[in-house]
């Protein structure tokens, strides 16, 4: 049941991302928003589907930090371009 809820959230976020990118005129802020949404999806997949929620804090922190770092770099550099 929880898998289905997480999946519904992922689909909703993915469609929202596509809609925002296609129809909203956000200029360079688009990169930040899109990468922030990607990070939310990344966290949902890592924590729930990959069962990281049950793992040691080290693994949670490391994987989420890496995902956030790269999302921040991509969004941040695109914003600053």
């Amino acid at each position: 049941m929880k898998n289905a809820i997480v999946f519904s959230l992922l689909v909703g976020l993915t469609l929202s991302t596509g809609w925002i990118a296609q129809y909203m005129e956000m200029g360079r802020n688009l990169a930040v928003l899109v990468m922030a949404l990607a990070m939310v999806k990344f966290s949902l997949v890592a924590l729930w589907f990959m069962e990281l929620v049950h793992a040691h804090l080290f693994w949670k922190r490391t994987i989420l930090f890496l995902g956030a770092l790269f999302a921040l770099i991509v969004g941040g550099l695109a914003l600053a371009a």
Partner: protein, 198 residues
């Protein structure tokens, strides 16, 4: 009857040296995230140097196909999680069935990607066309190889379930599932970086 994963007889361990699926697969996942992360870094750094070129090159990518592939991969991730769920309940028959569905969506992802590649090749958008397409082919091609390897792992796993060795079956399946979900994680960063932000 509550069938949440917390009720199964072998709880997920939370020791530092024993993450879900085993230590080795998580070391692989960390290395893969680093590798693709550096590729993304290259993409944005070169994108800053030649913003017009990257903008015009990215306009050749089909966002709808990228979005469809994201949904397909998310769907396969859900089916894989369901497979692990049923394996933890000791229902290997259902676990195998969900692996089969996962493989179908994996095959659909490969088919859509192949269609997209055929379109790009037909338009002459090859790897040495410009820096954007060099990185596009490298990153998505490398990711596609991972998806195909993930499918092979799942096929092997579904034929290697042993009766009476439930704990071993689940541990192997969780490892394979972690590899599969890693493909989701990487795509979740690749898709917006390549298809949406330029």
């Amino acid at each position: 009857m509550n069938l949440s994963p917390a009720t199964v007889s072998w709880p997920v361990k939370s020791e530092l040296s024993n993450p879900p699926g085993g230590l080795l697969i998580w070391i692989v996942i960390l290395l893969e995230l680093f590798t693709f992360g550096l590729g993304l870094l290259a993409l944005v750094v070169y994108g800053r140097q030649e913003p017009e070129l990257f903008q015009s090159a990215a306009a050749h990518l089909d966002t709808h196909l990228g979005l469809l592939n994201t949904l397909v991969l998310m769907g396969s991730g859900f089916l894989m999680a369901q497979s692990v769920y049923f394996a933890r309940l000791g229902n290997l028959g259902k676990a195998k069935k969900w692996i089969g569905f996962t493989l179908l969506l994996g095959a659909l992802f490969v088919a859509i990607k192949t269609f997209e590649y055929t379109q790009k090749l037909g338009s002459g958008l090859i790897m040495d066309d410009n820096m954007f397409f060099t990185l596009y082919w490298l990153l998505t091609g490398f990711h596609l190889i991972h998806v195909v390897v993930g499918m092979v792992i799942l096929i092997v796993l579904s034929f290697s379930f042993k009766s009476g060795k439930e704990e071993e079956n689940v541990e192997n399946l969780v490892s394979g599932a972690a590899f599969w979900h890693m493909c989701d994680l990487i795509w979740l960063l690749l898709f917006p970086a390549l298809y949406l932000i330029y």
